[in-house]
Symmetry: D2
Subunit: 390 residues, 4 copies
């Protein structure tokens, strides 16, 4: 049960790149990081427009001197200060994740980065190598994975409740971009421009979320080969897709299907993960994250509720409020940020192994997401053919 | 509004092959056919075991003389009687559909046949040719298509409410055969034996249902190519699959996905169809068939209810009970049987065109289902490759 | 498992009063009674308008001579025929139930009557006395009680799964009469006219349904006192109510609440029953009748599905189609009609005890509904005070 | 859209009484108050046990000198400091709310108090008088009212979408105390002891929540008279009730029903509010707070989703994250705390009128809740009779 007492010795001095006024995800980062005092916002380069960025930082209560015009200036100045930031969150469009993360790591600063981590696997591996070498943490913002019921699903798989895993069904298919809304919305425009978004739109932007959830729930599954088809239903988005389907075959014979879309008209998120084993299935839907549906073949379907004593102890550990009360996305993100902070502390104290039991999306998850998108794009662009996964 | 008054002049003298005591689907056929007096059960060859079959027929109130040991005897005797059956329903394992339907047609008897109609497209086309030549009706038991809300979905597509159709998501994925239950259950055993089931298990047994629903809802979509992977999670079922996924590309750019399974552990039917257009989506779930979810992008999702005046007149026509009261599968099947009867009457009166407006699964739907399974199996057996649809 | 073989030796010759063309509930009666051949429609006085009634009977396939101008003529003629009807269903407005049922019983004909059985308890007891004396069956059309999941709920209570019963929450609250629709609809008009509807509208028309369901599920509960308030939100309906709430106290300390309404705007049926014991609760909703929600305190909520082997054998006995497939109201009514027929046969064979195990709404349920409405009206009209139940 | 920039000039120095380690609701208060920097925790008397309280405060990062052994000491010391707390939150058992709130107000400190505010209306009015006289804010922790969809429901009523309001159905009926769990749980024990809980258990503890929601949604309804029955199904709880039902009649003819329970076995929260007017209904369920069901009679039911542009501007104002993402109870509480802070600032600046448009539960709501419980208890203890509301 979380009661606001911090599990780390100190609050981590922390900065942000991006996430400025009007950005979509900036507030979620701040709210999650500062929850329970794990991170303490000291510096920022919040906006492409330095003036807007500075004004916003001041509104957030920052020292104006630590509202920087760009990330280069921030990393230089902060790494020189004795009280400089120890960690930075990067919440900017996709094309900048690689250079900014790289610069942060080279400045000795831990990173929490938005997904997709980079455009290419090579870049992602480069970051992984640097981080490893310098003993730095890179967390990746697969925020949904912080929900307690994802942990519970993982435990049900681990303890054999579902039997041998056979089928994984993943979906993140919303309808908000059914029309070419990017014509009027800058925050959508970059998402469909390869220069900013990278080699994919919905595959990288949406699909990597349920993919990672499935990896958390079924850590033993290894993709053997995959096949992807992608479409640009709003034609001007080509070559970037606004809809895609991916078939996966795992070592050992299990199979996976993933549907991702921004043109699933009328759907809200439509993010669901279902894992089916020889004995039963577990299904989670992010719009009602406090519930988990457990279906054992031959028994009545069960609706598990967050916070209930019948859950596994590990899922209950992150509870903040007791059963019945709805938690939401902010708590999921905050759970991850608590672990990011603990991991950072363990690394700084030279004992990274201490953080080994903490389940959070780190650089490995970041690399994996990029690699997966790369394979999907390769498959789709070859006409929807099977590609071996390596 | 249906009130029990028959729309045909006479009740059709009718017989059955299969559907004997303990069979799964026999009662549904009888109950649907005899509803409102459209069909009048006069003869039967209900069972592989002639004695059991005769006893069962007598229990159903039949003249013992018209309880036949096999279909050959029945068709011979009945076609010789002045009051012989005009129509026969075939509810036997799949391998027998072709020969029995053929024999019935050659005896001048209309047919209502279970799906899949045959094992091969060639066989199905053969039946189509015979039926056409002799002016006989062949109805196929795609019973779900008789639900009013399927009609409503079709009308919403037809009147443009959803915009241009982009994505069709189909599913029929239950969990009842997660374990090798066929070891103890004869009714399951034949389903996984190619000699009886044909070239597929779940593709033919389950997938053709939502496939046909999608065809009813979106009659303008033509498959251009498809790709299928299939698995036998219970290994002893190989070469027949207990799980399969099919990707489809339609002329004009729309795409479809279909998941079918008998090992979706814990799921009841899991039959759903979702059709997504440029403006909105419509979704139907057979376990709650009185509702239809209509989601127009940018508007609140709507739950349409059977029997409500806001529905299209065509969907309301088959109403039997008023809104709020739940109808079920029996009414859907009965709706189709009313149309089968009307079509038979129109054919017998030499005016088949009179039945042209009646939406029911006829021989064309039967052929199409077989052709589709054939393509799926071809694709799967070649390693999950794209095959052109012809 | 029901397969269409009748459990009685013969089909019961049967007639109808009311339920003519355009009536709301006539078709449901016919469809349920003739299902599986239990009842054989031979005669009718279907309509207030003799000509319409006769024409309708002929359309239903009746001998014109047995389409009578009124029930008096029918009972006289039929009781004189050797092949006269053995049972009659009465589906007319409420004010006629008493005289017509009485006349039928005096003519030696079994009755299936719509609810409410009469306007006063005295009348209902009079019918009960006549029926008892003559050894005749009176079934009452509490159709919902034929659903398998109601049987299952009763079994869960009986076997102690819920613990000691504490709270019963009943509701039948639709919105179809939120506006004064009776101005345009004859079928609604009589319902709000005391001359035809009796001393209440929604209490008698709707509330007696969930009341009876609760009695079936919790047969041991005896009402000790009750309190009712009723409102006429459409003022022209006064003194008849279109909304009412009833509080009940049972012997032993359990309590009940019932809400009934025709002005619950936007609701479909809104018929639900929830029974809560010291260990758990069971909840059923008539719009999704194939499911039952079982909630044991401290365990995950369970969704029980009709047709599944984990149900009690008694609930499975009436299954017609297997799990997953939706049954609806027609099956529930048909289940009752099978029992009505068995009870009639047992009575005719002089062995009524043979039918004792059959759970169906008989004259006792009819009396009880009338008595309950009478108490409710008395309480409401005294200003919403407690009245002892006797 | 909330992005973390504070709407008040300063963070309010703030303290807590109660809410110590292991308490149920303390963390929710801290998390909501500190969100976005509105309140700055500086002092506390967190626990009955001074040592535990001090240790906990230190763990929360407080200056040990400002971790007080009791509220008297805290108010004395803090009101003497130039940097003393300006506001205190009281999260202690019910019996202490009156004396602690009174002491705080007399010390010139704004208060956020848990419900029920006091045991008697006289006490509540006393606090109201003191607060008014000294220009202090008293917020009451009706946290659910901060949900955006409650605001939306209020707007739908205000703009006439539902027509004239007729029926309000309220419920907060969980099952967690179906067994006498208080024997093992101190946090439950005080709730069923009149010395700590006051004159009621579930009426004050649970029922006042949906009551207040209904008041927010339908501000024009005035209770004319009410009737309450209450039960102690776990007998040792008497005279305090663990289940109660309240009937209300409002001026103008509308009616209300409220069910509250701690023995609704198997239910999670079971908190729902449904408001029905002459045209339609709106329904909200706190376990899925991001949705609102809008049912207009004669139209398909609509599921409104938080964050969607079709909502009223006022409901969207508090959005933090965009549609699809689930918010939870913490955001609802944080929304209220933002308004508490704004109200405090307005009062401190001598311009309380500036806060008049802010919808939050203030002292008036606190008084009203106590008055309502008082009437309920009076009615119940007189045998469940109607009492005029004054
Ligand atoms: N994890 C999630 O659930 C989730 C959700 C939404 C967005 N995202 C990811 O977050 C990232 C940002 O997305 P968004 O929707 O908030 O975008 P946005 O366009 O709404 O905001 C981007 C912000 O970054 C600032 N910015 C851009 N370039 C910058 C630079 N070089 N230096 C400093 N600031 C810069 C912009 O001024 C703006 O404030 C993307 O990578 C996106 O994929 C993740
Ligand atoms: N449309 C649907 O929703 C649906 C549902 C279930 C089954 N089906 C189809 O219905 C058919 C029957 O399936 P089932 O589940 O009822 O099978 P089943 O094994 O339960 O019953 C088959 C019946 O046919 C009889 N039979 C077999 N061979 C016969 C023959 N040569 N002559 C006469 N009788 C014979 C058997 O004795 C038995 O009574 C299959 O083709 C199946 O695919 C369709
Ligand atoms: N059990 C249920 O779920 C349910 C549902 C609907 C109605 N009902 C009950 O069924 C009864 C009929 O209701 P309805 O909605 O079908 O009414 P309706 O007004 O739609 O139909 C009544 C029918 O009875 C005929 N009729 C009237 N008086 C007659 C008479 N003296 N002799 C012969 N025919 C006569 C009318 O011509 C008409 O055909 C009522 O008692 C009602 O409460 C029960
Ligand atoms: N608004 C809501 O949704 C909600 C939810 C739960 C509880 N509550 C209310 O919150 C209040 C506290 O409930 P809880 O469940 O957290 O109780 P709890 O018993 O779990 O915790 C009470 C805390 O107050 C401390 N305390 C008790 N007396 C004190 C005193 N005199 N001085 C300082 N500290 C003292 C205890 O040590 C403990 O830390 C109650 O009034 C309850 O009704 C409200």
């Amino acid at each position: 049960m979380i009661d606001g007492t911090r599990l780390t010795k100190t609050a981590i001095r922390w900065g942000m790149v991006g996430g400025g006024r009007g950005s979509q995800i900036g507030y979620v980062h701040r709210s999650a990081a500062m929850r329970d005092g794990y991170f303490d916002l000291r510096a920022g380069a919040f906006d492409l427009d330095p003036e807007r960025g500075r004004a916003f930082g001041v509104d957030l209560g920052l020292d104006p001197d630590r509202c920087y015009p760009d990330y280069q200036a921030m990393f230089a100045a902060e790494s020189a200060r004795p009280d400089g930031i120890r960690c930075v969150t990067i919440a900017t469009p996709n094309n900048t994740h690689y250079p900014i993360t790289r610069a942060a790591l080279l400045a000795g600063i831990h990173v929490i980065c938005e997904k997709p981590l980079t455009f290419t696997t090579a870049e992602a591996l480069d970051l992984q190598a640097i981080a490893r070498e310098r003993g730095l943490v890179v967390g990746v913002a697969y925020g949904y994975s912080g929900h307690q019921m994802i942990e519970e699903a993982a435990r049900l798989v681990a303890d054999g409740t579902l039997g041998e895993i056979r089928i994984v069904t993943m979906q993140f298919a919303h309808g908000f971009h059914s029309a070419p809304v990017e014509l009027d919305s800058p925050a959508t425009r970059w998402r469909v421009d390869p220069a900013f978004a990278g080699p994919s739109y919905v595959l990288g932007d949406l699909a990597t979320h349920p993919l990672y959830l499935a990896q958390v729930i079924c850590p033993d599954l290894r993709i053997r080969r995959l096949l992807c088809t992608r479409q640009s239903f709003v034609a001007s988005r080509a070559p970037l897709e606004d809809n895609a389907t991916v078939l996966m075959e795992y070592d050992g014979g299990a199979v996976g299907t993933l549907w991702t879309s921004a043109v699933n008209a009328g759907s809200m998120h439509g993010q669901k993960v279902r894992v089916t084993g020889s004995k039963g299935s577990v299904e989670w839907w992010d719009e009602h994250p406090n519930q988990l549906r457990l279906e054992i073949q031959g028994e009545a379907a069960r609706l598990l509720d967050r916070g209930m004593p019948y859950l596994h102890a590990q899922s209950l550990g992150d509870d903040r409020i007791g059963a019945g009360h709805p938690e939401g996305l902010f708590e999921a993100w905050a759970n991850l940020h608590s672990r990011f902070a603990q991991a950072i502390e363990a690394h700084e104290e030279g004992d990274p192994a201490r953080a080994a039991h903490l389940r959070y999306p780190g650089i490995g998850a970041g690399v994996e997401g990029v690699r997966w998108v790369e394979h999907c794009v390769r498959s789709a662009d070859a006409g929807g053919v099977w590609v071996d996964y390596a």
